[in-house]
């Protein structure tokens, strides 16, 4: 990780703090589609209802350092901004092949049937709505370095 990229901002999700209010989904769909439709949100909160553990998890873009979606895109519609580190889709270049949807392990990009293009978290150009409205601060903006520490602890069990 270079100095520049370790200071870049990313969104992390902390399942220990989430209350499951789904306000992030409400504001995300309102910001990007102008309507409150949770099925159009770029961030998704999951409830583990079947197992009854009461755990939460989120499908949220990690704005990876080396994004799989960008390298899978045949039309260079997905671009990683070198300075900010955000991974964005240029809707004018997207051909709707859904490579990113199938190859991202999290399946973060969604295929928008109306626009015939893939859509994904665009970091709201610096001030993510989901983070602004998350009252328990389960979704928050941190540096890449801090995000890696948190994700290592949560998913790989490394302290």
């Amino acid at each position: 990780m270079t100095d520049n990229s370790s200071n870049q901002k990313v969104i992390v999700f902390d399942p220990e703090l989430c209350t499951g209010c789904r306000y992030c989904e409400v504001v995300c769909s309102f910001k990007h589609y102008g309507c409150i439709d949770l099925s159009k949100s770029y961030v998704r909160i999951l409830f583990n209802g079947d197992e009854g553990t009461g755990a939460f998890e989120a499908v949220n873009c990690q704005h990876c350092e080396e994004p799989i979606c960008v390298s899978a895109c045949p039309s260079e519609a997905l671009e990683k901004d070198e300075r900010t580190g955000w991974v964005k889709i240029n809707p004018l270049k997207c051909i709707g092949c859904q490579m990113c949807v199938y190859l991202c392990p999290l399946s973060v990009p969604f295929f928008d049937e109306e626009r015939k293009a893939a859509v994904k978290c665009d970091f709201c150009d610096g001030d993510p709505e989901c983070v602004r409205h998350c009252s328990p601060a389960a979704l928050r903006v941190v540096t890449r370095e801090e995000a890696l520490q948190l994700n290592k602890r949560l998913y790989l069990g490394i302290r």
Binding site: M1, R44, L46, N48, A55, F56, E57, A58, V59, Q62, C64, E65, E66, I68, S71, A72, P74, S75, I95, G96, C97, Q98, M99, V101, Y102, L103, C104, P105, L106, S107, K116, L148, N151, K152, L154, Y155, L156
Partner: protein, 300 residues
């Protein structure tokens, strides 16, 4: 040959074309062919004609006129639909004034494909209908360099991503998914030869080729197809993507990224799970975040 049809007296009717086909029909006169010797004549009134050339799809206003003109032509008569719009309404499909392609109003004998078709092709189609050979036209029929004919898909190269179907402005590409196969069908009757499919195809499987006889009697028969194997989701068992598409993308990722072996194996596994299942279960999401975190550690 039908009785009384050994010459062609054409009456041209523009049902609602954009005038592209219209100009190409006029262009026949500029080819320098001895049309009158060949028995081809363009006439001014439907009463003198025996062949009706229709251009464009039919709309609310032109429908009664088209029916009237058809009745005014003495049988035996034949109708030739010139251009994609006359065959299927082309890009005007679904327009609020459109009432149908020509063959829904009157019987059509021959469809000339193109958007618009070249004048040489229109004359050859007419000659073919008449059963005569025009020697002078053969050198003219030769396709110019870079000319866009009908799209032909190579089954070996196609990865079945459906990008062409999503972007085709004329909805000329259909995808039929069965239990284990995906069929990508290019229907030439709808095609407007814009080459978008050729331009965007990630695997360069589509090519706008040109065939000897760009006209047809049965419009349903003019197609090109590719058949692909579908991959079934590991969890729900529903086919969701062409296997070749995932293989193609993974190869591309391997070229660009160095992914640790373990994460690579997990990536192969998640790519066999449909996006719906991946976004539905916490286990899948934690699994995916594990992969992404281990990739992030490597780049640290």
């Amino acid at each position: 040959m039908k009785r009384g049809m050994n010459d062609i007296r054409i009456f041209r009717f523009d049902a609602s074309s954009c005038n592209g086909c219209d100009i190409e029909v006029l262009g026949i006169l500029a080819l320098g062919l001895p049309l009158s010797e060949l028995g081809i004549k363009i006439v001014d009134t439907p009463q003198e004609a025996n062949t009706l050339v229709v251009l464009g799809g039919v709309n609310i206003k032109s429908e009664p006129e088209l029916e009237e003109i058809y009745e005014l032509i003495e049988p035996p008569r034949r109708v030739i639909a010139v251009g994609s719009c006359a065959a299927t309404m082309g890009i005007f499909k679904g327009g609020y004034t459109m009432t149908g392609p020509v063959d829904e109003i009157i019987p059509v004998e021959l469809y000339v494909m193109g958007c618009p078709p070249r004048p040489q092709v229109i004359v050859s189609a007419l000659a073919d209908a008449l059963g005569i050979k025009i020697k002078e036209i053969e050198p003219l029929l030769k396709t110019p360099e870079g000319f866009r004919g009908e799209p032909v898909v190579s089954s070996g190269k196609c990865i079945g991503c459906a990008a062409c179907m999503n972007l085709c402005p004329a909805s000329a590409i259909e995808i039929d998914d069965t239990d284990d196969e995906r069929i990508i069908k290019f229907t030439h009757k709808d095609c407007i030869y814009c080459a978008t499919c050729q331009e965007i195809c990630p695997s360069e499987a589509v090519e706008l080729a040109y065939r000897d006889k760009p006209w047809f009697g049965d419009k349903e028969a003019a197609t090109a197809e590719a058949t692909l194997e579908l991959k079934k989701c590991l969890l729900c068992g529903i086919p969701f993507v062409a296997s070749k598409q995932v293989d193609w993308a993974i190869k591309k990722i391997e070229e660009k990224l160095r992914i640790p072996q373990e994460a690579h194996d997990q990536l192969l596994r998640t790519s066999s799970i449909c996006p719906d299942c991946r976004r539905k279960s916490i286990n899948q999401v934690t699994e995916a975040k594990k992969i992404l975190t281990s990739i992030a550690i490597r780049t640290q």
